[in-house]
Amino acid sequence: MKKTLYDKIWDEHLVHENEDGSSLIYIDRHLVHEVTSPQAFDGLDIQKRDIWNNNSIYAVSDHNVPTQNRASGIDDEISKLQVDTLIDNCKKHKISYFDLNNINQGIVHVIGPELAITQPGMTLVCGDSHTSTHGALASLAFGIGTSDVEHVLATQCININKEKNFRINITNNLSSHVSSKDLILHIIKIIGTSGGTGYTIEFTGDCIENMSIESRMTICNMSIEAGAKSGLVAFDSKTHDYMLNKKYSPNKKYLNDAIKYWENLVSDSDAVFDKTLSFDATDVLPQVTWGTSPEMTTDINGKVPNPDDENDSSKKQYMQRALDYMGLKANQDINSIMLDKIFIGSCTNSRIEDLRQAAKIVEGYKVSDKIKQAIVVPGSGHVKAAAEKEGLDKIFVKSGFEWREPGCSMCLGMNNDSLLPYERCASTSNRNFEGRQGDKGRTHLVSPSMAALAAIKGHFSNVIDFVNEK
């Protein structure tokens, strides 16, 4: 039978099929962070269970860490306890941990690929929904809850049901200054936040083939926002090149075997998908979310939609509630929306290419005096170092951005970086839920270059026009 990429990785990791249709799947890599792990380690202790394979686990603190003045440690005592608990658990179980002063520290989904902890064909889990990011390297990666973190620690397996196959095929290339962030927001707008529920999505087509690995990560990252636990992109020469010469790249003596194995990580040409969506990349314009769900997205040239145009009464109510929360009016032009804060960062858009795109826009301009704060938070110590080597930090600082230490930061505001009530933010992160970036804060999701342009202008504006007029 012809297999999809998902089928292949699934079959390769199948240990046991249960009578009820669920399966025990072997997990190759387990990433751990401070927020969703303490209760899992605690559970092991209570049951006096051992960790199955501590070599398969890599841990890092990212959600709760300060992005300034790291030398003085973590002020917030509750956050500090959580980070210290992870450190203690890693020491006790001999798990690799990257501390705050280590160049390998960063957002768990940035460091996994960057250090080649994630490799093609692997199964990878983490107690974090954006684990879908790692699928860009042709690995089957998905987020799990804390009970499953404990389960994987103890058994190296997870008991799950197989998902269905969903193929999203994108032909042609994105226009210049339209990014993969715009593409994935566009997709979520089409299929909705539950359009991928129960499926693993494989992204295919020349648009994806011509795209860098980092751009692919942005797309897989937000698959979860379309309801799919995993996104996938097939192995190709770009994946091949990406995997070489990284900290945990396969040992040289096995590299040829690994490559041979990886080359099979593509869907068979006539594999059958349960669902398919195809569209043309040239239709995609820069996107801005206007509401409190990632599906509430429109083109930069568009307007805030009018709930009165919606026939379904519960949808109408939901839209109205979103507009009230966001402090927007129906039919308002998107580019009339004025902003208070700008956040460039998160596991969606904090890699070197993202920072380059943003820097290109702000270079030679100043952040608008209407903007209270604009911050750039690189995804990892390595991203930060690479950006500084290229002088991107200087460009940002010169134009009025703050240049920070790596972490999740204002994506969810567990540390000091958050929105105050009613503040409005152009953010390169992935969730615009009520209160996500701070109680009553208002989030608009955009690409790095759109966020950068919003910083200069003080409001949203079309980055394509801006570059063309320059």
């Binding site: 240990v15 669920s22 804390t146 009970s147 900290k247 945990y248 690994a258």
Partner: protein
Amino acid sequence: MKNKIIEGQVIPFDQSNIDTDAIIPKQYLKSIKKSGFGPFLFDSLRYTDPGDLSTTKKRNINSNFVLNIEPYSSGNIILANDNFGCGSSREHAVWALKDYGIEAIISTSFADIFYRNSFKNGLLLISVNKDELENIFSEISESPKYNLTINIQNQTITTPSGQAYSFTISDSDKERIILEYDDIELSLRHKDKVKNYEDNMKLLKPWIFEKNND
């Protein structure tokens, strides 16, 4: 065969895409425990003043929020619209619902990770179709005091008027709720199979098991 019956007041929460950030906001994720999240369930909707783990003063109640309205304030079954539990994988959301006293949630659909987390903690999720959901919503709006009876073994929901709806859950999820079994214990029964698989893979894909550095 053992059974479990859940009975109680329904809380009509007429919204779609209720996300786990709303169920338990981030400031409470700093806790390293599994318990004590109940008072913070739906925190920013339930209270009008902000709070965090160190808040000791009495909070200001948002009297318009469904959990604060009689008779829903004593409810144990949530009724909500599509895609309940989307967003973050935080299991704290389920711990908060359970700790508050929620025993079942009825909706047309649930997000995948939330679904798993719920059954792992003995929280029953029931999917019904759009018509059934709307029926129940409209009955509650007519008579707010509204008790449902959920029979897990028979997979039925019975409304106060005696109407019964059936629902599907997998046998294993049913057992998780009724017998509260330990998933890890069950998986470890296949320990030898896992070991065999692993030994085999160590030969076939050694690069996965040998750390290159460190």
